[in-house]
């Protein structure tokens, strides 16, 4: 449904805010109206770049009075079109809200504005020997506000959990422009409902996150980065079983197939450390107190044939090169073709059975298609990427993936999984939400949305329809 701006609405915004806050420049509209997805055409009416919570509040008050929908937008690295503005909305970008307060080393917290870039927060905290352990490939662009609004996952979830666990306090601006301070910097606060958690993962549909008090932890100790060659997904899981009881803490356990690697090679010219093609690569990062115990464990892995080949980074340069192979996958798939992305989660114990049946879905729905499979398999999280064949147009390709998704998600449902592990729902997965949420759950989610945003001006059409 197209937004109809009231007369002189943009003029009013321009009068209300300093000159550089409001833009209607076509190139800016196209840029700030979309995320990393390329399914919908961006078409916002206005982009606003507030600097302060007060400006966010004023903007929402005006939009609320005028019934103009608002799409909150951070680093726009989302993969579910949650930050896409395709219907003349106002985009509220946190781009200029990037102030970071000094780190509280005693409380191990830091308060930042929503637009602080994730990696900048890491650098800021590292000076105090601390870190915010939310980490993923797009950390150089993503904003803390977006991380929180999407309850972002990433590569260290196996050790540290999701973003949700690392947010102490939130400052949220409601749809009507009221400013809420939720939980402050309290580690313990047992006083009724924890509203803060409601906004974490709400994808901008309940309120706009303006500032956050982040919970920090010490920088992890010296990590060893290992890469293994294994023949197939079943072998990836066998090796994981052995790693679970290994003499170390697992920081990350990631895998990708040779198909992903081929795309990475095309885009970034990075090469596998192994000379022969293998099937799957496993990237494991561990913190081992006793290097000899790690060495003994590795020896056992090789002797028992749990991996056909393996390497251990001998320098930080090698470690980052091995990580680059994994982290370059998403951008390489998009740069060299058009992927249809799925991001599913399964109970880890059921992954193997799921993967066997998944193969059948592929054969049935996508015969001869290139399927790039990778993910945070230690969390039960699989990224399934169907690449558009060059001789198939985008339209028919999308029709095909839409149909196939139903079969895929029915399989996920059967194995008690989730249709979106960490990407969120946004616009892309909205038609499939019912595979992971019951009718009653959806009704309650609608009731919450109506209570917080009765006019439905916050990111309307995302996650669920009201």
């Amino acid at each position: 449904m197209e937004t109809r701006l009231p007369a002189n609405f943009i003029l009013r915004l321009r009068e209300e805010f300093p000159g550089d806050v409001i833009t209607t420049e076509p190139s800016e509209l196209a840029e700030y109206g979309r995320d990393w997805t390329r399914v919908f055409l961006p078409a916002p009416s206005v982009v606003a770049f507030p600097r302060t919570t007060e400006q966010v509040s004023r903007l929402l008050r005006i939009c609320s009075q005028a019934r103009v929908p608002v799409v909150p937008s951070g680093g726009r690295t989302g993969l579910a079109a949650g930050a896409v503005a395709a219907h003349g909305e106002v985009v509220l970008s946190t781009q200029r809200m990037n102030r970071m307060e000094p780190v509280d080393t005693l409380g191990m917290t830091v308060r930042v504005q929503a637009g602080a870039v994730t990696e900048a927060v890491h650098h800021h905290c590292a000076q105090a020997g601390l870190t915010w352990p939310v980490d993923f490939a797009s950390k150089g662009s993503s904003h803390v506000g977006g991380n929180i609004a999407t309850n972002a996952g990433g590569v260290r979830v196996i050790r540290y959990g999701l973003t949700r666990q690392w947010v102490l306090g939130l400052q949220v601006v409601t749809a009507s422009g009221d400013v809420l301070e939720l939980n402050g910097a309290l580690e313990k606060n047992n006083t009724g409902l924890d509203l803060r958690q409601l906004f974490i993962g709400s994808e901008g549909t309940l309120g706009v996150i303006a500032e956050a008090t982040l919970k920090l932890c010490r920088l992890p100790g010296k990590a060893d980065v290992l890469m293994f060659a294994v023949p197939d997904v079943a072998a990836v899981l066998r090796l994981f079983r052995a790693a679970r009881t290994g003499p170390f803490t697992i920081n990350a356990y990631e895998f990708f197939t040779d198909r992903c690697l081929a795309r990475v090679r095309r885009h970034r010219n990075l090469a596998s450390p192994f000379s022969a093609a293998t099937g799957c690569h496993v990237l494991m990062e561990v913190e081992a107190a006793d290097p000899d115990a790690l060495a003994a464990w590795l020896m056992k892995v090789m002797e028992e044939g749990l991996a056909t080949d393996g390497t251990m980074a001998q320098s930080s340069q090698q470690a980052s090169t091995l990580w680059a192979l994994r982290e370059a996958i998403s951008e390489s798939l998009s740069a060299t073709g058009m992927p249809h992305k799925n991001d599913v989660a399964l109970p880890i114990a059921g992954l193997e059975a799921f993967c066997v049946e998944l193969e059948q879905v592929f054969q049935h729905r996508y015969p001869g298609f290139e399927i790039a499979l990778f993910g945070h398999i230690g969390d039960g999280n699989l990224h399934i990427n169907i690449m558009k064949p060059d001789d198939l147009d985008k339209g028919p390709f999308l029709v095909r993936t839409r149909e196939a998704d139903h079969e895929l998600f029915a399989l996920v449902q059967k194995h008690r999984g989730s249709i979106s592990a960490e990407h969120g729902i946004g616009l892309l997965k909205k038609p499939y939400l019912h595979y992971s949420r019951t009718h009653d759950e959806l009704a309650l989610q609608r009731a919450v949305k109506m209570a917080l945003d009765p006019l439905n001006i916050l990111n309307p059409g995302k996650v669920l329809d009201v």
């Binding site: 293994f228 590795l298 020896m299 080949d309 251990m312 001998q314 320098s315 930080s316 340069q317 980052s320």
Partner: protein
């Protein structure tokens, strides 16, 4: 062919070095140490030559007992055995060259391969001094090495282009950045490396006096850079360049 390749233990170049408060050196405690990257390239080239021509690759390093880690890293890549010359404190390029010469005389290799320089002091002297002391031909800054029979042909990166020279073995080659991309140490390689022989010598046993001829007087941090300034227009910029920077 038998190849002697040297590796130096240096600070990981992703670590920002800090000067000790007394200016006597840089802080190395708790800092990650690696094989000098140019030496890693030298090891890779030695392994390639061995794979092509057969023979043996012997890794040599000079340093404290901890330096065994860097020798093992080269053994994990595929070198056959190691030699560690135990030395505390700094060993200047001249002392290093004389120690390598002493090992050369014991081992009698066909070829000595070194990195063109170490990334810590950037001296780029050991290879040249070694060739001089041994009276052997040297081919430094190699970007390509071919061996045919007794003849080694080396392409060197020099100012203004490439130079191709050749010599008959024995001789000394130093490796430049574009010579190759070093392989990763495989896990089986890392395991095997633990069992490979690493012999230890003292400089005295080799008959070499390593008292430094070069004395480091003082190290200082570079001056902190001043923050940049934003100027509103070209006229102000020109004014500042003229009056403050005195560049015009």
């Amino acid at each position: 062919m038998k190849i002697l390749v040297t590796v130096k233990r240096v600070m990981d170049y992703n670590v920002k070095p800090k000067v000790k408060p007394d200016g006597s050196g840089v802080v190395t405690d708790g800092v990650n140490m690696i094989v000098n990257p140019f030496d890693e390239i030298a090891v890779e080239e030695s392994l390639k030559l061995k794979e092509k021509n057969g023979g043996e690759v012997v890794v040599l390093s000079i340093g404290t007992k901890d330096t065994t880690t860097q020798i093992r890293a080269a053994l994990a890549m595929g070198a056959d055995r190691g030699i560690l010359v135990l030395a505390d404190g700094s060993v200047d390029p001249d002392a290093a060259a004389r120690l390598i010469k002493a090992v050369y005389e014991q081992e009698k290799p066909d070829l000595v391969v070194l990195g063109k320089q170490a990334i810590d002091d950037d001296s780029s002297q050991a290879g040249q001094l070694l060739a001089e002391y041994l009276g052997l031909p040297q081919a430094t800054f190699a970007s390509k090495v071919d061996v045919a029979g007794k003849t080694v042909t080396v392409t060197r990166e020099v100012d203004g282009g490439l130079e191709t020279i050749s010599f008959d073995m024995p001789g000394v080659v130093t490796a430049d950045l574009r010579l190759n991309t070093p392989r990763y140490a495989s896990l089986p390689g890392i395991m095997k490396a633990k069992k490979k022989e690493v012999k230890e010598f003292t400089p005295a046993a080799l008959g070499v006096d390593i008292a430094p001829k070069v004395k480091v007087l003082k190290l200082e941090e570079p001056k902190a850079r001043q923050a940049g300034q934003k100027v509103p227009d070209v006229a102000t910029l020109v004014g500042k360049l003229r009056n403050e920077a005195k560049a015009l």
